[in-house]
């Protein structure tokens, strides 16, 4: 039922953590894109930059993402769930363990959110966006 509900509502899922980051206001957010597909990274950079985000870095794997976050300190991490070395949820949990609530993490996947059950809900990410629905508005909508 939940899956059905979510599917009808939107390809974008706002999680409970979204409210937690609401206080973290920025005008122009810096973004780190974490995805193992170069073509998606290129598309995502193009569309996010075109809509006002500042893409500060790209990584293709989980561990590299953790290093990049520590180095770049982005406001937002666009995190692919399926990574070659770690899952997006694991990266998410590790980031929270290291940094508390920062940065805001938006999970992306070419799969539907229901394919992950309640993993997304229980994660510390702000929300989930299907890759096909990626847009600056969608990301902004998850960042209150």
């Amino acid at each position: 039922m939940l899956g059905t509900y979510v599917r009808i509502e939107s390809a974008v899922l706002r999680t409970a953590h979204a409210r937690c980051v609401c206080d973290y206001q920025r005008v122009a957010s810096t973004v780190l894109i974490v995805d193992d597909h170069p073509s998606f990274r290129a598309s995502a950079r193009a569309i996010l930059e075109s809509q006002g985000f500042d893409v500060v870095g790209e990584t293709a794997a989980g561990k590299a993402a953790l290093d990049a976050v520590a180095r770049l300190r982005p406001d937002v991490v666009l995190l692919d769930v399926q990574l070659p070395d770690m899952s997006g949820f694991e990266v998410c949990a590790e980031l929270e363990r290291r940094n508390g609530l920062a940065p805001a993490i938006v999970l992306v996947s070419s799969r539907d959110v229901v394919d992950y059950g309640d993993l997304v809900q229980n994660s510390c990410a702000c929300g989930f966006i299907a890759k096909a629905d990626l847009s600056g508005e969608a990301v902004a909508a998850l960042l209150p």
Binding site: S39, F40, S43, A44, A46, I47, S110, K131, A132
Partner: protein, 974 residues
């Protein structure tokens, strides 16, 4: 004793007498009276003469010697008359010796033999006593005989004049002498008392005179001591009695002579018809005389009665009487008469004729008595009827049959009034008169009601009695009372009828055969019934086809001789064992019977042995048995050919003898004879499972339904098997309840199942893996491209207004991206399932594969369609193999061959590469093997190092599916 001896005796008498007279005359004492001398001389002569007469008559009898001796010694007394003292002394010594011979004479009379030793010793004792006394007197008394004469000479041998001694001796002698005399008299009295009358007649003259003499001597001895005068008188008396003895003897002889003369009187008396016994008793002087007559059976008296007691009477003797050389009678007389056999002979001879006649009469009487007894005691009836039909005489049985108590009630009546019922009487009277006057011998049966109202049946046989002239004077009828027999015959007949009815109505077959084994005739009045109704109906033979035919002819194939043996056993008198035979029916069919033969007596009582064969039909039983046997054989065949392990156990778990099927024996490795008696769970079950198996069988024995269980069984070689088994109680075959253990060796099946399970798991895993790969490929490939396109389109959309040139450039990139996405999707779809395979079959699909292969590939493949699953499996084998060729082998060329042979398709892909491939290494080949295995096929990879690799799959092609596939082919093309 001859005449010479007698003459010498007479001469001696004359000499003695003359010498005595001469001596007395010349030398006698003066006072002797010549009268006395003469008397004394006569007395001595009388003894000698009597003695010689006795010797002449009976030389062997010593009586004569004793008589004569007494006479001769008597004359020595004359010497005492002499004056010469020496002669006197000799006479004094010897004259007393007369008492020796005299005592002997009296005691031995009349036989001349002493009856006892005492008798014999008495004369000697007397002699010794007297001789001693006289000698003593001569020695001690100068005048030894003072009482005899005054002038008697004295003793010449006196040694001492002691008359007192002589007197003392005299007194002592008197006492002893008296004792001896008393003894002699007592002996004589005893003999007299014992003697029979006849014997007393013989005894009394001599013994009487002798006893009187001895008594007188005793009196003289006593009187000598009392008074001389009395003694003198007694002396005279003594002389008289003594002298009387020879005369008494002669009197006895004379009386016998007189008795002989009585024989002639006897003849006269017998002629006059006097009673013969009394006449003979009188003639023989033996009142106890009896006469007996000889019969074959022994002695009888004159009345014909048995006379053995008379003959055996003690003190009697038997004198046979002969007539014409044959013993006709015997006189049982006093034994003493044997002393005079001549008299007996004379009497017997005189009476022989009369006794002969008497003997015949006795015989006749004995025979009559016998016949009378016979007639009276015989169970037969006898009546003697006169020619007038009146009963003259009858026996007791006839009286009893007539129902009368008194024979006088019959005698004199017409027999028909007694023995014939009133209604038949006239007829009988007429027949009786018709038989006159000859009354020929005849037989007839006659039933009547007698005076007591009892019904009697008598079988009579009568014969005429004729007199000397041949005229019939009467009729003797002998009858047998057959009332009882008639009654029994009637009963028997009724019984026989009942038996016959029973035999006819019982369902068992019964047939009577004789000793020769021939079937007897069947006659309702004849008890020897042949075959009964059940027999005739069961076998369908008619009587005439059975009677006198051997029973064994009906028996089919008595090759073991059991039927013949049974008949022989019964003929020998014993009941036979039961025999099962097939008997031939009249319609040619055969029926089986269980029968036995028993001996039976002919119920009429005739002793002919018969054999009764009786039995029941067992055809149906045999058929059922045969059916059961076939069923059993069928079940055995099933059991023995069944692949399951079967065995039978009893309640204790022991296998029955031969109680397992071949599969059981072979699987567990035991011989048939080894399994009987083994406890199932001890012998055949793994020790770890045995308690459970025992428990489960126990529950099955208790009636619980026990399902299939897997247990470890152990073969004789120790190999463990997994057996799925059940235990089922069987319907009772015999008194035991048996249980069937049914087991299936599932060891291999379990292995196969395990393999199958693994194979399935691998298939599933492979499938999952394939899907994951597919999903990854889609995700990583087309999907990413489409996502990128989607993002790009969104970007284009945003650029469209502000920067159309950039949007157009982005669109070019997007088209390129889309073309790649499509190609990737097409490739993916081909990998999932090539459409060409479904649409056009294996050959074009393989050709498409080959066209993409990096090395030249030679193809040999038939264009025939196969079942879809087979085609798919074959396709993937080729696809995987060619992928491996391209990836690993380093081959320069390859060859793909797909051929049909023997109901299967063989797919092989060979390359000339490096070889050394390990089939277990890659999941691809493993998955292929499972796919092929799912179709019951096998996949073999041969990859020797340096010799290339051959992947070969053989997949069975079901014919039915194949044909359906063929039919479908045109549709596929259309």
């Amino acid at each position: 004793v001859n005449r010479l001896a007698l003459s010498l005796g007479v001469a001696l008498l004359v000499v003695e007498l003359s010498a005595a007279l001469a001596l007395i005359a010349t030398n006698g004492q003066s006072d002797r009276a010549w009268a006395t001398v003469a008397l004394e001389g006569v007395t001595g002569a009388a003894f000698v003469v009597a003695g010689l007469i006795a010797l002449a008559r009976r030389p062997e009898n010593r009586t004569g010697i004793y008589l004569a001796a007494t006479g001769y010694v008597w004359y020595f007394g004359a010497l005492t008359e002499l004056t010469n003292e020496w002669l006197f002394s000799i006479g004094f010594l010897l004259s007393d010796l007369i008492w020796v011979s005299f005592t002997a004479l009296v005691l031995a009379y009349p036989t001349g033999r002493f009856e006892s030793r005492l008798d014999r010793s008495l004369p000697l004792a007397a002699g010794a006593l007297l001789l001693a006394t006289s000698t003593c007197k001569l020695l001690f008394d100068p005048t030894p005989a003072p009482d005899r004469c005054d002038e008697c000479p004295g003793s010449p041998i006196v040694i001492a004049d002691r008359p007192a001694v002589a007197d003392t001796v005299d007194v002592a002698t008197s006492v002893v002498g008296l004792a001896l005399i008393v003894l002699v008299v007592v002996l004589l009295a005893r003999r007299w008392r014992r003697a029979t009358p006849a014997a007393r007649r013989v005894l009394w003259p001599v013994v009487g005179a002798g006893a009187a003499t001895f008594l007188t001597v005793a009196l003289v001895i006593v009187a000598d001591q009392v008074s001389e005068s009395a003694a003198e008188v007694l002396q005279v008396l003594l002389f008289v009695t003594f002298s009387a003895v020879p005369f008494a003897f002669l009197f006895g002889i004379l009386r016998t002579r007189l008795a002989r003369s009585a024989v002639s009187d006897l003849v006269v008396e017998l002629d006059r018809g006097a009673p013969i016994r009394e006449a003979l008793a009188g003639a023989l002087g033996d009142p106890s005389l009896e006469i007996v007559y000889p019969l074959d059976s022994g002695w009888v008296d004159e009345l014909g009665h048995d006379a053995e007691r008379i003959v055996a009477r003690p003190g009697t003797a038997l004198a046979p009487v002969e007539s014409e050389g044959k013993v006709v009678a015997a006189l049982v007389h006093d034994a003493s008469l044997s002393e005079d056999p001549a008299l007996l002979d004379a009497v017997a001879h005189a009476a022989s004729l009369a006794l002969h006649t008497q003997g015949l009469q006795a015989e006749a009487r004995a025979q009559f008595a016998f016949l009378r007894t016979l007639v009276e005691t015989a169970p037969s009836l006898f009546i003697h009827v006169g020619t007038d039909g009146r009963v003259r005489n009858q026996n007791a049985a006839a009286v009893e049959a007539a129902g009368l108590d008194d024979e006088e009630l019959i005698r004199g009546r017409h027999f028909w009034d007694v023995f014939i019922d009133p209604e038949e009487r006239e007829d009988v009277i007429a027949r009786f008169h018709a038989l006159a006057p000859d009354f020929e011998t005849g037989e007839y049966e006659n039933a009547f009601v007698n005076a007591r109202g009892e019904r009697r049946v008598v079988f009579w046989r009568s014969a005429p009695v004729r007199n000397e002239a041949g005229k019939v004077t009467g009729i003797i009828s002998g009858g047998i009372d057959i009332t009882e027999r008639r009654r029994r015959e009637l009963e028997l007949e009724r019984e026989r009828d009942a038996t016959t009815t029973a035999l006819e109505s019982i369902p068992s077959i019964v047939v009577v055969v004789d000793r020769a084994g021939l079937i007897r005739d069947r006659d309702i009045d004849n008890p020897r019934v042949g075959a009964n109704r059940a027999f005739r109906q069961a076998l369908g033979w008619r009587d005439e086809q059975l009677v006198d035919h051997p029973f064994l002819d009906l028996v089919v194939d008595d090759s073991y001789g059991r039927a013949a043996g049974a008949l022989a056993t019964a003929a020998a008198g014993s009941a036979s064992e039961e025999v099962e035979s097939e008997l031939r029916c009249a319609d040619g069919s055969l029926r089986a019977f269980a029968w036995s033969a028993v001996p039976v007596a002919d119920v009429t009582g005739r002793t002919e042995a018969l054999v009764l064969v009786s039995g029941v039909e067992v055809t149906e039983r045999r058929r059922l048995e045969a059916e059961k046997e076939r069923e059993r054989a069928f079940l055995n065949a099933i059991a023995n050919n069944a692949p399951s392990l079967l065995c039978l156990i009893d309640r204790e778990g022991r296998l029955t003898h031969m109680g397992a099927n071949i599969a059981f024996e072979q699987t567990l490795g035991y011989a048939s004879e080894e399994i009987g008696g083994q406890v199932f769970w001890e012998q055949f079950v793994h020790p770890g499972d045995a308690p459970l198996v025992e428990r489960l069988i126990g529950r099955a024995a208790a009636g619980e339904v026990v399902g299939e269980n897997d247990s470890r069984w152990v073969t004789s070689g120790g190999t463990q098997l997994i057996v799925a088994w059940t235990c089922t109680p069987l319907p009772r075959l015999d008194e035991r309840t048996l249980f069937l253990i049914t087991g299936v060796d599932v060891t291999e099946r379990n292995q196969l199942t395990e393999e199958l399970r693994a194979s399935r798991a691998r298939i599933v895993r492979a499938e999952d893996e394939a899907r994951r790969v597919l999903e990854r490929n889609l995700h990583d490939g087309a999907q990413q491209r489409l996502v990128a396109i989607s993002v790009a389109l969104r970007l284009i959309e945003s650029k469209l207004q502000d920067d159309p040139a950039a949007a157009a450039a982005l669109l070019d990139g997007t088209r390129e991206e889309l073309a790649q996405a499509l190609e990737e999707l097409r490739e993916l779809a081909r990998g999932i399932h090539p459409a060409v395979l479904t649409d056009r079959g294996l050959a074009p699909a393989v050709e498409a594969l080959v066209s993409r292969a990096p090395v030249p590939v030679d193809i040999d493949i038939s264009s025939d369609r196969l079942p879809e699953a087979v085609e798919a499996a074959s396709y993937y084998v080729v696809a995987e193999a060619l992928t491996n060729v391209a990836k690993y082998s380093g081959a320069t060329e390859a060859r793909v061959q797909v051929v049909r042979e023997d109901g299967r398709v063989v797919v092989s892909v060979h390359d000339d590469g490096a070889g050394g491939a390990d089939p277990s290494r890659g999941s691809g080949l493993r998955g292929l093997a499972d796919r092929v295995g799912a179709l019951d096929g096998v996949l073999v990879v041969e990859s020797p190092v340096g010799q290339g690799t051959t992947v070969r799959a053989e997949i069975p092609v079901p014919l039915r599916l194949e044909s359906r596939a063929r039919r479908r082919r045109p549709d596929a093309h259309s």
